[in-house]
């Protein structure tokens, strides 16, 4: 029964990630809901109906039920989809990457059968995750004492489940067709993030609202399932997508040669094999790249850095600048009436000014996430990654102290973070210039620098965890959890009169507290974030020097 064993093995390998992520989501829901239920209700009752529906609250429900929309509909859906796409992308391609596919397929079962087993595991685990979220969605309001009459948490979670499977199967199709797990998860993550951003952005721009329909996230989000129940019309688009991707995966995996554990040829490899460009390319890709530990580390992440920088420059910088002039006047006017408490939710930006618009769209969340993707991946892989791939022993057989390895890896992280930070800065400057918004370049630079430092703080945390435990997964998961908690802390604690003081414990607080996009650099916050980063690197040195290297495999 390979069907059962491949499925059960895959579930056994993955279930912990799903459990932890969904339980954390449930706890976050509890926390956000209890904060919301303390909010002064006066602004809410006076809000126009259009706004109430925009915020996903039914007329019978308490304001606390906003937490469904805030916690589950966006963060929860992104988390479920990310878990699903990581699994989908690795289904066949992951076994090829690990070199285990040959052994697996030496059993008398077809590729289609193995793929189907992997797909079954994906559906089962996504269902399991949805179930945990559903349980939390029922328990939390009762525990906190929030009325949720007229809300449909079950419908919301069902749509989140389908949405997650859409990205899971997309990644599976790409992985099955190409045999590259990293390409599958990377490309699918790109599609997911871009469409999530697009669906948040286009509807506020006059005449452009229809563009959102080109992005898959729309078919999950636009029906507002928490408020209106399952929107079968839109959902059928996603369901259709899943069927198509599954079919594509089956065809893809059967038509091609299985990959060995070989590495693909990059542009540089082609340049190196061409006599005309050989000398130049050899210098750049060969001798220069391996001249130092930090240079080599920087180059290992060049693909990720280029993609992230590109998105930040063009999508979150230039494009936002051009779009500012197009924002629907009604939305602008309306945004001006938002109570302070709700502004906190969207990054405290005043959408009537270009600075406020950039703060909401680019800086409050997207820029820190972009930077963290780079710094946390680098921090986690820096030490634990080399241990996991068993190259650390050889690296440390050279006359290089462990502290130097940590410091050079941290330096590489700084270099790449600065590149992404600079791309963001340059994009906003160009966007401001093209849109004739007249924003202050110094203020943009200050905000970008603070965002870079914030990213480095979490990268430093990942590095310390990586150095202390030698495990990439722990470093990534714990850091992501802490970052999410810190973000939510900063966004929601100010809403509660009694808890507002605790916000100082979140690094996010020091990022935008001085309103750098209007007032320039807040040197105190800058020094604090920089100090935190240096402290975490020092901690990484101490932890890494103390322990035994792991022996993997």
């Amino acid at each position: 029964m390979i069907f059962a064993t491949v499925t059960t093995k895959t579930i056994r390998d993955r279930w912990e990630g799903w459990l932890i992520a969904t339980v954390v989501m449930g706890l976050m829901l509890w926390w956000v809901m209890s904060i919301y239920s303390q909010i002064d209700l006066s602004f809410y009752t006076s809000m126009p109906q259009v706004f109430r529906s925009m915020m996903n609250i039914s007329s019978e429900a308490d304001v606390g039920s906003l937490a469904y929309g805030v916690m589950y509909a966006s963060y929860g859906a992104l988390t479920l989809a990310a878990l699903a796409l990581a699994m989908g992308g690795a289904s066949i391609a992951g076994e090829e990457r690990d070199g285990t596919i040959g052994l697996l397929l030496a059993n008398p079962k077809s590729r289609t059968r193995v793929l189907a087993s992997k797909a079954a595991a994906l559906v089962l685990l996504a269902g399991f995750g949805a179930l945990v979220l559903w349980a939390a969605a029922r328990i939390v309001p009762a525990a906190v004492g929030v009325r949720i009459g007229g809300m449909h948490p079950g419908a919301l979670i069902f749509e989140m489940f389908v949405n997650a499977l859409f990205y899971g199967f997309l990644a599976m199709a790409i992985g099955a067709w190409t045999g590259r797990a990293s390409l599958a998860t990377g490309a699918t993550t790109g599609v997911m993030v871009l469409s999530w951003i697009a669906v948040g952005m286009f509807p506020v721009i006059k005449g452009w609202a229809g563009v959102a329909k080109a992005f898959p996230w729309y078919y999950y989000d636009a029906g507002k399932p928490a408020l209106n129940g399952v929107d079968w019309g839109r959902l059928s688009v996603l369901l259709g997508g899943i069927v198509v991707f599954a079919a594509v995966a089956v065809v893809g995996v059967n038509r091609r040669d299985l990959r060995g554990q070989s590495v693909g040829a990059t542009v540089f490899d082609r340049l190196r094999s061409n006599p005309a460009t050989k000398k130049f390319a050899d210098r750049l890709a060969g001798s220069a790249r391996v001249s130092r530990i930090w240079v080599k580390t920087v180059s290992e992440h060049q693909g990720l850095v280029i993609v992230v920088s590109y998105i930040m420059f063009l999508g979150m910088g230039v494009l936002i600048g051009l779009l500012y002039g197009l924002i629907d006047q009604a939305v602008q006017k309306f945004a001006g009436q938002l109570p302070k408490t709700l502004l906190a939710m969207v990054g405290n930006g005043d959408m009537r000014t270009p600075e406020g618009f950039f703060q909401v769209e680019t800086f409050s969340m997207t820029a820190p996430i972009a930077l963290m993707v780079v710094t946390v991946v680098m921090g986690a892989r820096a030490l634990a990654g080399e241990e996991g791939r068993r190259t650390m022993g050889l690296l440390l057989a050279n006359p290089v102290p462990r502290s130097k390895v940590v410091i050079e890896k941290a330096l590489a992280m700084v270099v790449n973070a600065v590149l992404v930070g600079f791309a963001t800065f340059a994009g906003v400057v160009v966007g401001s210039w093209l849109g004739r918004l007249g924003m202050d370049i110094g203020d943009i630079a200050a905000t970008s620098a603070l965002a870079t430092l914030l990213g480095l703080v979490f990268g430093g945390l990942a590095l310390a965890l990586s150095g202390g435990t030698g495990r990439t997964t722990i470093a990534v998961y714990v850091t992501s959890g802490v970052a999410l908690a810190a973000y939510l802390l900063n966004s929601f604690l100010p809403l509660s009169a009694t808890l507002a003081g605790w916000v100082r414990w979140s690094p996010f607080y020091y990022y935008l507290r001085g309103d750098p996009l209007n007032r320039g650099m807040d040197w105190g916050s800058c020094a604090l974030l920089a100090g935190l980063f240096v402290g975490l690197v020092a901690l990484a040195v101490v932890l890494f020097r103390r322990r035994d290297l792991r022996q993997v495999g």
Partner: protein, 301 residues
């Protein structure tokens, strides 16, 4: 260098939780020798090597290389050390030459003509990416990396895995050359024939304890081998009675066949007194000896 031991351990012990991976290891490896380190899987060979490299820290005891403490002077030691880890992994996206350049940059002072010479001797392709090489060809890059800075001490964990017989032979020659130059080789291996061929001395580890430490020639002299004499006239087998090492004597078709594990001189003295036409001896095979050490009953020996 002549007065110093290359590797010295005293009471070296490593526990992983309740598992005793290495117990009280006392060992000296001398300059100018190839030291074979043998033992079944999980005996503690790799644990010993990883402790010497300061990858892991001993629970008790000390280790030193070239007179320097493995923990405190680790960086200074590594300047004079070559290392091939077991189950070698390299960076898949780098070519062989990039890989060697990287390590050469970290070390400094690598002679590239020597690197090219090593690559030629091992028939290594340095232009290809590591990820596109077969495991044997990858192993060659690992070997060059260990030899290229002419280290005073070479520590290698299963270094010949994946190498074809011709390259293995060249590699053995390279190890002997290192020893001939007064440098030390610490060779952990499962390939008994390899150890038998290149090692001067052998240590055997079992369940974390060193159960034997002997020179290969000593071991060979103790090995039971067959000695066959052809005499011009029949000889009474009883003449060999009392010769140390004679286990049994058989006479068939005029040939006297002895099972023997002593020194040849004594045996030849007796034989000389008779009309010896021919003598043949089968080379002592250490494999059986090694295997007895590996088996459980040898623990108490």
């Amino acid at each position: 260098m002549t007065t110093q031991t290359a590797i010295h351990t005293q009471g070296l012990t490593k526990h992983y939780g309740t598992v005793e991976a290495l117990i009280d290891l006392d060992l000296d490896v001398l300059p100018g020798e190839v030291f074979g380190f043998l033992g079944p899987n999980g005996a503690g060979k790799t644990t010993t090597i990883r402790t010497l490299l300061d990858e892991i820290r001993p629970t008790a005891g000390t280790a030193s290389i070239l007179g320097m403490d493995c923990r405190r002077d680790s960086v200074a030691i590594r300047r004079r050390l070559g290392y091939v880890p077991g189950d070698l992994a390299l960076y898949p996206s780098l070519t062989g030459r990039d890989t060697l350049t990287y390590f050469a940059n970290l070390r400094g002072g690598v002679d590239w003509t020597y690197v090219d010479e090593l690559a030629g001797r091992l028939d290594a392709d340095l232009a290809k990416k590591i990820g596109d090489l077969s495991s044997g060809n990858r192993q060659k890059v690992g070997l060059i990396q260990a030899f290229m800075n002419r280290p005073d001490v070479l520590i290698m964990d299963e270094p010949s895995s994946g190498l074809d017989p011709l390259v293995q032979r060249e590699f053995h020659t390279m190890m002997r050359e290192v020893a001939a130059e007064g440098r030390a080789v610490f060779l952990s291996s499962h390939t008994l024939s390899e150890v038998q061929r290149v090692a001067d001395r052998v240590g055997i580890l079992r369940h974390g304890r060193l159960i034997a430490l002997e020179s290969v020639s000593e071991m060979r002299s103790k090995a039971i081998r067959q000695v066959v004499f052809e005499f011009g006239s029949p000889v009474d087998p009883a003449v060999f009675d009392g010769v140390p090492g004679v286990r049994s004597v058989e006479v068939t078709n005029g040939r006297t066949v002895l099972s023997f594990d002593g020194k040849m001189a004594a045996l030849l003295t007796i034989a000389e007194q008779h009309d010896v036409l021919d003598v043949t001896t089968e080379e002592a095979d250490l494999e059986e000896i090694f295997l007895t050490y590996y088996r459980d009953e040898a623990v108490t020996a």
